[in-house]
């Protein structure tokens, strides 16, 4: 059976530690923007932890919301690309085909989640970060868009391995870099077409919502949230 990759983000578990962000940078060869560029709004994180404050001092509540590409089934970024660089893969991923991209940035404007990033410059890494580049992931040049791939290199290598061993992929056999590094297990990745996978089970939880689900983008990422911050910490 074909796979359909999805993720669950448990907001009740997220501590906002940003280990996922660092892991994603390391896995996917995302350059660090640097202070100046970040100040100009050029920070580039395929996954980011959004912070929202509620209430006033002395009792403010802070909420963390990791946001990555929602790998929408009805992705607004896909039809607008004139060169088919944003492409819907048979396994439900919103792929970005770097070679096809001419950099119109239309996809980024159409994306309601702002999870697509443009290479305003050729990438550079501060010493010694360039020594840990991942050989399985291509480095993106100036002038093209990039985005979360659900660690497609890991998906592909696991699929190839399973095929070589003539067996089905097992749930939890591999995961994305962000989910792997999440200490509180707030991120769970897996196959939504496998009804017994952890991600399928959690996705159907009654705590589940879709981010901006009202837009009809049909995301494959489900957010779990019980309710209040007190519930999350004491409940």
């Amino acid at each position: 059976m074909a796979h359909k990759w999805g993720m669950v983000v448990d907001l009740d578990r997220c501590t906002g530690c940003e280990a996922c962000v660092v892991a994603c940078h390391a896995e996917n060869n995302i350059p660090t923007a640097g202070e100046d560029q970040a100040a100009r709004g050029r920070a580039k994180h395929w996954i980011r932890v959004e912070r929202y404050w509620e209430g006033d001092f002395p009792n403010p509540r802070i909420r963390f919301q990791p946001v990555l590409c929602q790998q929408c089934d009805e992705a607004p970024c896909e039809p607008v690309c004139p060169t088919y660089a944003s492409y819907h893969s048979p396994e439900g991923l919103n792929s970005q085909i770097y070679n096809r991209c001419i950099g119109t940035r239309f996809c980024a404007n159409a994306c309601p989640y702002n999870v697509r990033f443009f290479n305003y410059y050729n990438p550079t890494w501060d010493m010694p970060l360039q020594l840990q580049l991942n050989p399985d992931v291509s480095v993106r040049s100036v002038g093209i868009m990039e985005k979360c791939t659900f660690c497609v290199q890991r998906i592909k290598s696991a699929e190839i391995q399973a095929e070589a061993e003539k067996r089905e992929l097992k749930d939890g056999e591999f995961t994305t870099a962000c989910a792997q590094s999440c200490a509180s297990r707030a991120l769970v990745f897996g196959d939504l077409n496998d009804p017994n996978s952890e991600v399928s089970r959690l996705s159907s939880s009654n705590r589940g919502t879709k981010l901006l689900g009202e837009l009809g983008t049909k995301p494959n990422v489900t957010y779990l949230e019980r309710g209040t911050w007190e519930d999350a910490t004491h409940g």
Binding site: Q37, R40, G41, R42, A43, K44, R48, E50, R51, Y52, Q65, V67, P76, P79, V80, C81, P82, T83, Y84, N99, R100, C101, I102, G103, T104, R105, F106, A108, N109, A110, P112, Y113, N114, F117, F118, N119, Y120, Y121, N122, V142, G143, I144, M145, L212, L215, T217
Partner: protein
Amino acid sequence: MQPTAEQIEQDLLRPLFHSSGKYWVAVALAATLLLAGVAAFGYQLYAGIGVWGLNSPVFWGFDITNFVFWIGISHAGTLISAILRLTNATWRRPVTRCAEAITVFSVLIGAIIPLCHIGRPWLGFWMIPYPNERHIWPNFRSPLAWDFFAISTYLTGSTTFLYLPTIPDFATVRDASTGLRRKIYRILALGWQGTPRQWQRLETAMFIMAVVIVPVAVSVHTIVSWDFAMTPVPMWHSSIFGPYFVAGAIFSGIAALILAMALLRKFLHLEEYLRPIHFQNLGKLLLTMSLLWFYFTFAERLTAWYGNSPPEMAVFWESIRKQFAPLFWTMVVCNFIIPVPILAIKRFRTITGTAIASCTVVVGMWLERFLIVVPALGHKFLPYSWGTYRPTWVEVTLMASSFGMMALLYLLFSKFVPMISIWEMKVGLQPHGGVPVVASADGKHEVVLEGPQ
């Protein structure tokens, strides 16, 4: 007092054969501006497009503002001139040529801007559908692909539309010149002899082009609006955008035309030809479009406000009350509050009056495009990812150079082509309201050039 046929020819050919020192200074200034833009673009290619002020989430800024602005200006010519031709408005005669030239040059500029704005300009030709090593067509679902076809169609159509009525004038220049110039204009005149048969064919071709170019012009700016309206971005995703953009385009186009005519009149000494009546009539059109623009803007804003959806309201308040409020209210003043009294009161609807109103409209319509592009992108759904935009000197230089390019092309055009159609002015001299009667080969008299007026 009407000038005679000889006088018309003499007056309108003069700029082709004699240019003042001032003219060459203007050419040099315009060329310098254009070269500054070429240099800025070279720097951008060398250093990376990061030298622009764009960021995440504002991925479009001055680039697309200027693109929409110039495509808008292009609606001066072809549309106005086609409508005036089809309705047989006789006062159009001295106006059409300079209007059609604005169209061709501003569409050209509008077509170049997206090529400079994409991340990898050297791959811009991937928009063209051709059998290629990538084994892939352009994505016909993408509004940008529609844009590509709309703009290339419009550029071809408006160039043809400009060229056709120029053929008899090219022949006039050919007959008035010698040497190399004569050879060049002989080619441009396509063997024009002025036989009744040629006139008839020209008239038919011009009629077909006038009919065809109107829906093309409307579709072009509608498709430009769909670059925005087809996305789920707050305040972009609106069905009013198509007509709103077309109305705005005609609005800014008429303003550009009035400005160009005022300048031509002054510098080419065309007082006899571009008379107050032309500015009066175009001023009335500009007034209509100003009222229409206000109506559309009001309808768009009121609908958003009543709908009260939080993401739309974020953009709404950002543009009218917060960060972009100074620009928004300047736009309202420039597009409505200043031009309407000037254009509505007959005493003010003079050449100077309409030129002042046109200046503010051009500024106001540029601001309108900026306010469509930037506030919405900076305030999409998730407040954490909100941002703003400030252009860098590179973008400002590129914008200035687009004006330089327009000025340069227009100046050079006026050196090589009579800016007012000589033969159409002569037709206007004929009795029966300008319906020349030419004997045909079979001895019968037939009417050519124009229908009854």
